[in-house]
Symmetry: D2
Amino acid sequence: MWNEHRHEKQDPRVAAIYPRGIHEAIAEPLRALDGIEACTATLDEEEHGLTQAALDTTGVLIWWGHMAHGEVRDDIVARVKKRVLEGMGLIVLHSAHYSKIFKALMGTTCSLKWREASDKERLWTVNPGHPISAGLPEHFELPMEEMYGEPFGIPEPDELVFISWFTGGEVFRSGAAWRRGNGRVFYFRPGHETYPSYHDKNVRRVLANAVRWARPTVRIADVCPNVGPLEPLPPDPDAQSRSHIGHR
Amino acid sequence: MWNEHRHEKQDPRVAAIYPRGIHEAIAEPLRALDGIEACTATLDEEEHGLTQAALDTTGVLIWWGHMAHGEVRDDIVARVKKRVLEGMGLIVLHSAHYSKIFKALMGTTCSLKWREASDKERLWTVNPGHPISAGLPEHFELPMEEMYGEPFGIPEPDELVFISWFTGGEVFRSGAAWRRGNGRVFYFRPGHETYPSYHDKNVRRVLANAVRWARPTVRIADVCPNVGPLEPLPPDPDAQSRSHIGHR
Amino acid sequence: MWNEHRHEKQDPRVAAIYPRGIHEAIAEPLRALDGIEACTATLDEEEHGLTQAALDTTGVLIWWGHMAHGEVRDDIVARVKKRVLEGMGLIVLHSAHYSKIFKALMGTTCSLKWREASDKERLWTVNPGHPISAGLPEHFELPMEEMYGEPFGIPEPDELVFISWFTGGEVFRSGAAWRRGNGRVFYFRPGHETYPSYHDKNVRRVLANAVRWARPTVRIADVCPNVGPLEPLPPDPDAQSRSHIGHR
Amino acid sequence: MWNEHRHEKQDPRVAAIYPRGIHEAIAEPLRALDGIEACTATLDEEEHGLTQAALDTTGVLIWWGHMAHGEVRDDIVARVKKRVLEGMGLIVLHSAHYSKIFKALMGTTCSLKWREASDKERLWTVNPGHPISAGLPEHFELPMEEMYGEPFGIPEPDELVFISWFTGGEVFRSGAAWRRGNGRVFYFRPGHETYPSYHDKNVRRVLANAVRWARPTVRIADVCPNVGPLEPLPPDPDAQSRSHIGHR
């Protein structure tokens, strides 16, 4: 569980809601579950806590960030991206729609509309048979949340799981899943720092389900190999002139 | 039509096949078509020929590159990507699977297997109703081509159009389409510089169809706006403390 | 433009809104457009107006039905389905989510939540670069409409274009596109018979765009052919015993 | 594991390969796996062995059929389809591409090219991170198999897992996955009755992986409910005239 961990230090309202940080609020209930071991890492740790050794033993990485996306080192983003493409799961939360890692994996703007006011959010399960919906009601509510509205600048999700309704009149694809390389990516909308959304039991259920869903089945390093044929080829008239190749 | 235009200058075999460059071999037949105006640009032109003014008047960009992907300036890649997300179509050819622009839009490795030998390639139309397949036979052959083999490190295509069979025993998703932002992206496999594939009538047909398919319907600049509600909200108990926001 | 055309005859409220039938309300503005010829057919015509000859000359079929889905003949549904799979476009409106033709093409329940009350519907364009969104605002409203709510029992759309917000608290994937065989299918939600939604300029725009988008590029009859090899095969030790085959 | 079980009784070549039937050849290795209980059912049993009680206790149904698709009762196909849409997994093998149940769930022709000769089939994993690929090599071969060739008349797969190469020059999407309702559907190509493909260790691995992947997380009965609003609505000027509704 990776957290930027800045709002909690700077804003007493946030500290009141998440006294041990958003990362602990999310990691703690996961630790209680069978078969899940949850560690945390934060921006201000060395290498943001995302050393190669840490990633090597991580099956699924959860990411929360907001005010300090720009401080995340590009080389570490590249490292995380490589690890996702090898097979690690990635769960991207709320304002991390604008994180470097999510934008790099999506290839799009990841922009949206937003409003910090008194909207209620109601999340509708549009895919009740998806593992991430397991055990959830048809809809659940967060009494106050930041609004995110469409259009959301993402690639067409491989699987759309939740759509949110907001009091102020907007809708949002608030649970969306993609495969990228050998890894699975899930974006989940709720979780503005000034609301207690990560204490909500349905939100916690989504996160637990998503962690299980995103678990890797493989780890495959990137290669782009020059290979010989598996079946006989006809004679190559240009064989000699091809002997130079291999410049990739 | 953007071309790296290096092989043609350095390798007499390539120059013999494409005496005016791959870009002209592709642009010329497009110019003969109703409703298409085709210009060219190459790596060694100023700003690689991809000035903002040029992109502003481009509906669909075709991209061929191979040996000099690393010389394409990052700021110009960002400019092209922004333009695709605003609505410009992009057609990525052959070894441009490893171009910076394709990798940035896909978010994945874009790696594959390869072999430069005497394989025949047979392309099968798996989606005969797709506009890019219009007027093509169920399959067509290129008597000799570089082999590209699976797994191909791309996101699940929105639409898969062609799959290639190779003599040496491999298969490849050789025509694949995605929407990214408001733009459409099509990857088409054939076109190694040492074979005359861009003189093939079926390949030309694919390119003409793809250009028509990828034409933009809009141009929309990226925004991530803070918006007011469209419906009445309940009173906000924290309205005052929210007055600081707007830090994005 | 196919219409069940029953409500208009039985309910004076509906007749007041659509005096010449829903079919004419939809067909008439399409006729005014370049390159579109719009005919109509209704349930009570012979063969529901959907003779083979009529389908042979139809590029895109629009379908509105509600109270009499069960009266549509199964053999005619099979004929329409075959024509869609050959390449004809199909636009399915509102309560035709439960039409035989839509359910047969989707393979799912096509069920949803519903309420006929005083909801406002606001449609959000989640895919502004899609041809069906061309010329539309980011959102548009219908001041009163029947509510349809998620979960909607459809396969994951190939492309999601619109999501609706309803006053009563629900959301709905109100514009969704699929390819089925060589044909394109678009479902569009608005259009309850007791509201004047087909007189709305944005709804009309969607329908005009959808007709253009769904136009066929081919017509391909279904075959499942026994074919000879394109490349030499090794000797077949069981060639004689295979001589019986061809039982499909 | 459902099997038509006719070829084995009528053709000594098939009986020699599958002396206890294709169903037992598939079920037996599944029984050896942790957490899987495998039963069988065949066409000539009462209700084809697919009673409601049997389906109620089935998590994943595997289907093999070929020469007797037409003898499968329509009411039982409807029962199986309903159960899939409620959440049961379905794995469709080889010639069952033309089974009633697969065609009903896909909504398309499910046609293909075919040849019963001496082709070798090589299956390439195009999605190595998919759970169905777990533990499989990048490609595996079946020394002799019936050829199936593109175009294959299916909806765009949600996830494409395998593509086959055939000696005779064709390709085929031989492992394809869809969600339909709350159930998951996987089509897997190999398994012509005159070849021992279901004794192949890689084929068995695919089937074991597919069973695990297709397991239901829910069972949800189909409903299309009339619901009240979750948020206050404005007054309905037509409330009285609406009191008649409920005709679905």
